[in-house]
């Protein structure tokens, strides 16, 4: 039993057919997400078990045509040839049969006989029809079943049907002999006549031959085709110019014949009310206010509401750490564990609430069909920057936090656009940059803090826009990167999709990004821990204990505090991290930073929030007045401006970088995402520093 070869089932279908829901229902909730070997097309697989039969169910990306199953010919071929080794389950949106069946027919032309699943059967009923599955099976030779992903109607029969084909496992039965559909039979016999090898070709080779039909020499007689497609249809007026026109005509002709035979009208006929919602949601005046309200709500829930569970997790883990610190022996291992590993784990876990809330909202947005409307509304704007409309949502989320935006980047379908997105998103100022901005704005620009903040964000937007356009120039979309913006019918999202998606996203984040974050935290800890012995300028412990013995009063306490912070400062500046910071000071001198600023940027790499806290430690201001301390050490308004700009752009934080690496799977792109912001930051800061000095701030 154990060594039986795996049996593969493939879910193929148009986008928006409820394919994912079917996958989740059939596999339970355990999807494994990987890639097709050698290519970057996502491959979700799960185990199907029913009536002592089992197989591996693989969910393919939604596609309108076999030609676009992958992002290039090689990928399509790779996936198609895989299909031949298993059984194809073709999910068809019963509310939109005509267009969905094109894919079915296309598969049959290549000799694949799928099991057809007519999903959303309620929508067919709403349109006033029933489907006669007996005649469908008789005509096509495909087993078929009507399902409804919401009510689970039809799924018992579907499971039984799949188990049946697993029991009598024979993927090779896929052949033309089963098909009684006129079109496919004639086409295949016609092509077999022209090409003796036709029947022995693999599906991928067949697809290529079919797609290149119009590359047949001119001597080729297309009139044969014309006889194939009975010119009974009214629309059939032009002479066929080439093979692809012939194929498309033939398919639609055959589909209309098929539907005429299989569809029976119901007594009660309802009108199709679904798209009338668009009259409000796509209304010239209401569309944008509604869309931005929805986005605003999502943004607010994700980041404002998400802040609470995040801080609970942070506090909880922090308390445990404190407790452990109390009971564990004070060794270097304990400190490594608590300040390195444990801090790293907390740094990873605090992201989870945001991620969960965001994905919850995104699934609702996507499954309801509203995301497509948003993409439709903003397509014009995003096109300037070389993106699809739906990328807007991702950039907006990036303002909250780059990490979940990256985790959702699969939403961008085009691979080239995704790469540009990876390089751009670190430049989008996330909310973690706010503490350093508000802190410095308050200290150095007290008369117009709001204006200054606005200027920062406006400049940030400008830079992102300009860089986006530049990247678009450098890496334009290829001509075949064309994405159809379907406006699917509005549907109620299925709750079944949430849990599997949560598990999948969390696992992904923890596995890949989590390890990078953890490692980075430990490395920084090590650099900040060693060397252990520091040469102090004076013996602080003795001085402090001397002071402690004196009669207690406020001024003594002040002196003790000052010594303590002085000691802390000297301790930190002796570590490798600070030494490194001091070593790179020459690099930052043109920007007006001192060594403290340079050093504080390093923990800022772990999380941008920590720039302020590091600065506070390094300056160890008397009375907690960071501003006075900074000014005393020579920070001026121009250098503060320069520091703010630098901290907005300089490098993506470590979690972001980890996510970029995970999503792009490319070391080069990750490196670019690190270098581009760094260089930009330096140039921008330098430019504005000089301007500010010139203007006499």
């Amino acid at each position: 039993m154990a060594n039986k070869p795996e049996k593969f089932l493939f879910l193929v279908g148009n986008p928006n057919t409820g394919k994912t829901t079917i996958f989740n229902i059939l596999t339970g909730q355990h999807a494994k997400v990987g890639n097709w070997p050698g290519v970057t097309i996502e491959r979700r697989e799960g185990r199907f078990e029913f009536a002592e039969e089992e197989g591996i169910l693989i969910d393919l990306p939604g596609t309108y045509s076999m030609n676009t199953l992958g992002n290039d010919e090689k990928t399509v071929g790779l996936i198609l040839d895989e299909l031949e080794k298993g059984i194809v389950l073709n999910v068809v949106d019963a509310g939109n049969l005509e267009r969905n069946l094109v894919l079915t027919l296309q598969m049959m032309e290549m000799g694949i006989v799928p099991i057809v699943i007519f999903n959303c059967s309620d929508e067919l009923k709403a349109k006033g029809f029933t489907l006669d599955s007996v005649s469908f099976e008789a005509l096509t030779g495909c087993k078929c079943i009507l399902t409804n992903g919401r009510t689970l109607e039809g799924f018992d029969s579907l499971r039984a049907l799949i188990a049946e084909s697993l029991r009598h496992w024979n993927p090779r039965r896929n052949s033309y002999s089963n098909i009684s559909l006129d079109w496919v039979k004639k086409l295949s016999s016609f092509l077999a006549e022209k090409d003796s090898e036709w029947k022995a070709l693999s599906p991928a080779q067949k697809l290529k031959k079919l797609a290149n039909l119009d590359e047949i020499p001119e001597s080729f007689d297309f009139s044969v085709f014309q006889n194939l497609v009975q010119s009974s249809s009214v629309c059939w007026r032009n002479s066929l110019k080439n093979g692809i026109e012939f194929l498309c005509f033939g398919r639609f002709h055959e589909i209309s014949r098929l539907l005429k035979a299989c569809l029976a009208p119901l007594q009660v006929k309802k009108s199709d009310e679904n798209h009338s919602l668009d009259r409000i949601l796509l209304n010239k005046w209401l569309a944008f206010p509604i869309f931005f309200t929805v986005l605003g709500i999502i943004f607010w829930t994700t980041f404002s509401l998400g802040k609470f569970p995040s801080s609970w997790i942070g506090t909880f883990l922090g308390n445990i750490a404190e407790y452990l610190r109390g009971i564990l022996p004070k060794t270097i291992l304990t400190e490594l564990f608590l300040d390195g590993v444990w801090a790293g784990i907390s740094g990873v876990l605090v992201f989870l609430p945001n991620i969960l809330i965001l994905f919850f909202c995104l699934v609702i947005l996507e499954d309801s069909g509203y995301l497509a409307r948003g993409a439709f509304l903003l397509d014009r704007v995003m096109a300037w920057f070389g993106f699809q409309g739906r990328a807007f949502v991702l950039f907006l989320m990036g303002i909250g936090c780059n990490v979940p935006a990256l985790l959702a980047s699969k939403m961008i379908e085009s691979p080239v656009q995704r790469i540009r997105f990876f390089l751009l998103i670190p430049l989008v100022a996330c909310s973690a940059r706010l503490p350093i901005l508000t802190c410095l704005v308050g200290i150095f620009f007290p008369s117009f803090p709001g204006l200054m903040l606005f200027f920062m964000f406006f400049l940030n937007f400008l830079v992102v826009a300009v860089v986006a356009m530049l990247l678009f120039k450098i890496w334009p979309d290829s001509r075949s990167d064309f994405f159809l913006l379907e406006l699917p019918p509005y549907r109620i999202p299925s709750w079944r999709n949430f849990l599997p998606m949560f598990i999948e996203k969390i696992r992904h984040f923890l596995e890949k990004a989590g390890t990078v974050i953890l490692l980075g935290t430990i490395v920084i800890w090590v650099l900040n821990y060693f060397p252990q012995e520091t040469e102090f300028s004076q013996d602080f412990d003795i001085e402090i204990s001397k002071l402690r013995q004196m009669p207690f009063d406020a001024s003594i306490q002040k002196k003790i505090d000052k010594l303590l912070s002085q000691k802390e400062k000297e301790k930190i500046s002796g570590k490798f991290l600070a030494r490194f910071g001091k070593a790179v000071v020459p690099l930052f001198e043109p920007l007006g930073f001192g060594w403290r600023e340079a050093v504080s940027l390093i923990p800022g790499f772990l999380a941008k929030e920590s720039i302020v806290s590091t600065l506070t430690v390094l300056y160890s201001p008397v009375d907690g007045d960071l501003g006075a301390a900074m000014k005393k050490e020579g920070m001026t308004a121009p250098s503060a401006l320069s520091l703010m700009l630098f901290s907005i752009f300089y490098v993506p934080c470590l979690p972001t970088l980890g996510m970029i690496y995970r999503e792009s799977k490319s070391f080069r792109i990750t490196l670019l995402a690190l270098i581009i912001p760094g260089m930009l930051a330096w140039c921008i800061s330098f430019f504005f520093y000089r301007i500010a000095i010139f203007c006499g701030f």
Partner: protein, 83 residues
């Protein structure tokens, strides 16, 4: 019929027309053809995005958004549209 080409991009909101020809020189045109943008198929312009682009169409029972330049690949027949 030697007038200027009348394309989907110029079809006013709410009007229905018949597809005449799709430019197959581009991958986009071929994809549209595969989706059922065949000569002789009726198509209705349903919405125009507030910023002028893209345009939404209803064809064969489904709704699709096309950018101006994509819609311009689809030529319409002159005699339809009621006028």
């Amino acid at each position: 019929m030697s007038q200027k080409r009348f394309t989907l991009a110029e079809l006013p909101e709410g009007k229905t027309a018949t597809i005449g020809e799709v430019d197959l020189q581009t991958p986009i045109g071929r994809r549209l053809l595969e989706l059922g943008f065949l000569p002789g198929t009726p198509i209705k312009a349903t919405f125009r995005a507030p910023l002028g682009e893209p345009l939404a169409f209803e064809i064969r029972g489904f709704h699709i958004g096309l950018r101006q330049c994509e819609a311009a690949l689809v030529a319409l027949k002159h005699d339809t549209d009621g006028k």
